[in-house]
Symmetry: C2
Subunit: 307 residues, 2 copies
């Protein structure tokens, strides 16, 4: 496949490989139903709507959404039961994507990680932001800006593996991964520089595959060839990174939100590391961001189906 370089191209690709089936946990949520309906209209996805069927009907009636286009799965046993039921539909192969609705994140994730019916792979779950930024010729993947707070090196390996798979699903055959820190030199007084160096060497030893990792790099060295040249950094990654692995939740969160609020951009976000892509949108996300998040999940699901 050709490399997906914009989120408009992503949406086209998701239409091409879709529609995929989403299983929505506790679909009685107006904002989530608007996103699901937009994805259905775009030809990207259809959905099981799992939850209290009466409550779901009340929400969709209000929004003018025709339930005839969906499979409603009535589950009145509470949100934990609905979450588990939604996950089960994915485990059974009836849906390819699971999406969080009106359910507490903890209950939702308990369903996802359920030992018998869940979607666990053994890897850490991680969040990724997917950004198209004006002036750049490729998509940036930032991980983990939201899910893992202060991952250790094992956690960072999982985070990296998860996002590398996603980049492959976007047609980036050998993604360039910048392990970010505040500086480009290993400094024992700055732990993120050491984690970045470890990830780099693990990649060289074949312990992390399918990508080219280099770090520590500061953000400017990672994305600007001029800045990397100014610093005299010799690296195939510096200046050309596709994936930005951040040291911790504060740096990742601020980096991703700076892009959303300060740059001309399009953004999506999903949760990785389970057997199926997880869509977990936030109320503050724009309608476009929610649709693009579903499209990202569709692209990843298509990639996983190929294997």
């Amino acid at each position: 496949m050709e490399q997906i370089r914009t989120l408009t191209a992503l949406l086209d690709y998701a239409k091409e490989v879709g529609p995929m089936k989403i299983s929505v946990a506790c679909a009685e949520d107006a904002e989530v139903m608007e996103a699901v309906e937009a994805a259905r209209k775009a030809g990207v996805a259809t959905a099981y709507l799992v939850g209290n069927a009466d409550a779901i009907k009340a929400v969709t009636d209000k929004l003018g959404i025709d339930l005839a286009n969906y499979d409603v799965v009535d589950e009145k046993g509470g949100e934990a039961a609905a979450a588990l039921k939604a996950v089960e539909l994915v485990s059974e192969g009836k849906a390819q994507i699971v999406m969080k609705g009106m359910v507490a994140t903890a209950n939702f994730l308990r369903g996802v990680l359920n030992k018998e019916k869940g979607l666990r792979t053994g890897a850490t779950l991680s969040h990724v932001y997917i950004h198209e930024i004006d002036g750049y010729d490729r998509i940036f993947f930032i991980s983990d800006p939201a899910f893992n707070t202060y991952p250790d090196i094992k956690g960072k390996v999982d985070i990296t593996n998860n996002v590398v798979k996603l980049a492959h699903a976007f047609g980036v055959a050998m993604p360039k991964v910048a392990a970010l820190a505040a500086v480009e030199v290993v400094n024992p007084d700055m732990p993120p520089t050491m984690d970045a160096a470890l990830l780099t060497q693990m990649n060289r030893r074949g312990q992390i595959k399918g990508c080219l990792i280099d770090g520590p790099l500061a953000l400017d060295n990672a994305v600007s060839p001029e800045s990397a040249a100014h610093k005299g950094i010799k690296s195939e990654v510096a200046g050309y990174a596709d994936i930005l692995i951040v040291p911790n939740i504060e740096s990742g969160n601020m980096l991703a939100k700076a892009i959303v609020y300060f740059a001309k951009n399009k953004t999506a976000g999903i949760v990785l590391g389970a057997k199926a892509p997880i869509v977990l949108t936030s109320r503050a996300d724009s309608a476009e961001a929610k649709l693009l998040s579903i499209a990202s999940a569709v692209a990843l699901a298509a990639h996983q189906a190929k294997k």
Copy 2:
């Protein structure tokens, strides 16, 4: 004075209150001399050029800069001696701003912090990025993205006090300060949220004056009124922050560099906390950023002179 809301307005203001005198430590540096000459031509500054007079002449000859416009102070005793001499000119009141030239940062700062001839105030030195961002009606001050790695709460108080003074110098009478974290709730498992809450309460108790602090806030809550409303945050600061206090060097560095490399912006940066503003540009800074950094130092020097 009227609030300075753009870096173009800053440059106009610096011309109005300038020219101020810069003391350049080891001026035998082409990039630094270009910046100083640009500031002189803009009517913002004049300068003492401290260092090896022969080397300075070689550099300025090459650039076509007329040394008749400057005061050259020959100091051939090495960079540490030149740095101290440059600092001394500021301590003696002959210059209002000190600027780092071709001297290692450690040697330069040893001069700045020299007990007898230096510029120490007892406060921590801190770096600030000053950003004008397309689409926003005010300047953002981000601190500390470069100088203090993992400041404790005492360090963060100094960092905040330093940048509040700078905001005053820019005519922001009562700057709104967002103490940033990844989330807006105090979470004992996320130390930056606790530091942010402490800064907020210290401000309420009058321990940090001249500003209005609120935190923890995530970046979106800090700069977007809609995002703050989505989260139901009641705060005079949320959505309207002027100053962003970051938890640590990684988050600050990535936030500031995301603005420089991903947003339509103008950026300046200086070092605060000494008796006089310190200009310490980096090779990767654009010529415009260097000029705006000098202009920021001029605005701060004018503010300090008023007191």
